[in-house]
């Protein structure tokens, strides 16, 4: 198997080979849905509903808002299917639309919203559930790390969620977080990591 070592980490780097095949399948399913295939629509719905719900709940504690947003989203998609653009990542497409819908439904401005500053938006913590043969982080550092995570701004928590949990690319993060440049996404991640590192010194 031919493998090349990266020299620099390119923001716009394509995902691994295997993901490309998956992308082709997704593009086909999306096209099929757009052309009127109802099974494709239902498949998309069933496949991504749970993830969308979990994602939507990152923005608000109000589950009804999330549920309604998802419902409205799929009604709209189904109604306007022919006019929709192409995509090879259905999940990302849906995420973009859902985030807009949920924030709008919250009726509050993203950056100012009290709710978005709560610890529970994009909340995460650090824990050593994984049995690692050799651990670098001891108990004390772990505690400090968790305290530090609580101090992260919601936007930094959001970028960490996208990057480490959803495995999105910088480009996708830029789009989702409405940043002007791809490097802004990378910078935000760096800032988040730097912040954490500072806190556990």
């Amino acid at each position: 198997m031919k493998v090349s070592l990266p020299v620099a980490f390119d923001d716009s780097r394509k995902p691994a080979c295997e993901v490309d095949n998956q992308n082709k399948d997704e593009a086909a399913i999306w096209e099929s849905f757009k052309n009127g295939n109802e099974s494709a629509f239902i498949y998309i719905y069933q496949t991504y509903f749970d993830a969308l719900f979990t994602y939507g709940c990152q923005f608000t504690q109000n589950e009804d808002i999330v549920k309604d947003a998802i419902q409205d989203l799929f009604i709209e998609l189904r109604k306007n299917r022919k006019r929709l653009g192409k995509t090879d990542s259905i999940k990302f497409y849906l995420y973009k639309s859902l985030k807009r819908a949920v924030i709008k439904a919250c009726g509050q401005w993203y950056n100012r919203c009290e709710e978005f500053n709560s610890e529970r938006t994009f909340g995460f913590s650090f824990s050593h559930e994984q049995i690692l043969i050799e651990r670098q982080l001891d108990e004390e550092k772990t505690k400090k790390l968790n305290k530090a995570i609580q101090l992260l701004s919601p936007r930094k928590r959001e970028v960490i969620y996208y990057f480490y949990y959803e495995g999105l690319s910088y480009q996708q993060i830029q789009e989702l977080m409405e940043m002007s440049h791809v490097r802004s996404a990378r910078n935000l991640l760096y800032k988040a990591l730097d912040f954490l590192r500072e806190q556990i010194k």
Binding site: P15, A16, S39, T54, F124, S125, F163
Partner: protein
């Protein structure tokens, strides 16, 4: 019990090591390897570690950090997904639990109204944009979890089955005619749905569909759905996983639930789809070859012995035992009109060296 190394966190040092950890932590390929590795990534990073032993510790630390991130998530209540889907298919923009509990509209009507209201619109435009009705498509895509449309009103399903050696010819509730070949099964409702006629086929059948352009006729076989408006066509599912649909008159649309392909067939065209290679081929066909079975024509074209044996078992409803082996390049081409098994085997034995005995439904062929 794992031991915890009390190594001071390397991040303490304001040195180049910091940026190396960062390089791992900010590298999407690294993250993907840690959280969701595939073979390619495994190979890549193991090779990388071997090439950079001095960075191994940093890599491990970065890995530990990523693995340690636990994201707080809310999961939907069970049943929420289906409830919302019901609302969506109904086209209502606000949650509308009351609607589905409404007793005045039958469950069947309300389900159909939402999901199938598009059909009339399509046919007015004379476009055959057909909705491949869930079953075939979803059974292949869902990992064992089919979608839950609202239960339809209880309709009795009729099963018409042919054993090996049998053929059947019958009329369906709408007047359409079916010829069912041996070893096949057709399922259809006692009375067809008002919006469309759907049947499920295993094996091979020839259809002469009553013409009605506002009432599509659909044959679901494996993952292919063939939709006809008023036509005659043959659908065949072979043992080696090849599906073929041959159109004689009219127009049909074939949708593949697995590959998401849609094809419109014209008279004289045959569509071949291989489950194995997932390839679709369209080409002309010979009517006598495809429909011969309907007229009592048994035929072989460069058939291997296995194929001949299978076909004979199906056609005559017998069990064939074989002693010895046919010669390697055994290929049979022959056409037998309304002949019994003994005649057919006799004729084959003239060309190829074989002996046979027939004992009721048991046949013994000796090479």
């Amino acid at each position: 019990m794992t031991s915890i190394h009390l190594i001071p966190l390397k991040m303490d040092k304001m040195s180049q090591e910091n940026s190396h950890i960062n390089e791992f932590l900010t590298n999407p390929e690294f993250v993907r390897w840690v959280r969701d590795p595939d073979k390619q990534l495994e190979v890549y990073w193991l090779q990388w570690m071997e090439a950079h032993p001095e960075k191994k510790e940093d890599l491990k630390l970065a890995r530990e950090v990523i693995l340690g991130f636990k994201f707080h998530q809310k999961h939907p209540d069970p049943g929420l997904r289906q409830d919302v889907l019901a609302n969506i298919l109904n086209g209502d923009s606000k949650s509308n639990d009351g609607f589905y509990r409404d007793q005045t509209m039958t469950k069947r009507q309300s389900f159909l109204r939402g999901a199938w209201s598009r059909i009339n619109q399509f046919y007015k435009v004379a476009a055959i944009l057909v909705l491949a009705f869930g079953l075939a498509f979803s059974l292949n895509y869902f990992n064992g979890q089919p979608p839950q449309p609202l239960p339809l009103a209880q309709v009795k399903i009729i099963h018409k089955t042919t054993a090996y050696g049998e053929k059947l010819n019958f009329k369906m509730p709408d007047g359409s005619l079916v010829w069912l070949n041996a070893g096949s099964e057709l399922q259809y409702p006692e009375s067809f749905d008002s919006l469309e006629r759907v049947v499920h086929l295993k094996g091979e059948a020839y259809f002469e569909v009553q013409s009605d352009k506002d009432w599509p006729f659909r044959v679901i076989s494996e993952n292919l759905t063939t939709t006809a408006l008023g036509t005659s066509f043959n659908v065949k599912e072979e043992d080696d996983g090849v599906m073929s649909i041959s159109l004689l008159t009219g127009k049909v649309k074939v949708e593949n639930g697995l590959t998401a392909e849609n094809v419109l067939l014209l008279p004289g065209q045959q569509l071949n789809y291989s489950q194995e290679s997932k390839k679709t081929l369209i080409g002309p066909f010979e009517e006598s070859r495809v429909l011969g079975w309907k007229y009592g024509l048994l035929q072989f074209h460069n058939a291997t012995f296995d194929k001949v044996r299978t076909e004979l078992e199906k056609w005559y409803g017998v069990k064939i035992k074989v002693t010895g082996q046919p010669p390697r390049k055994w290929k049979l081409t022959g056409v037998y009109q309304d002949q019994n098994l003994e005649m057919v085997l006799k004729r084959i034995s003239y060309i190829e060296q074989l002996d046979f005995t027939i004992n009721e439904k048991n046949v013994h062929i000796k090479f």
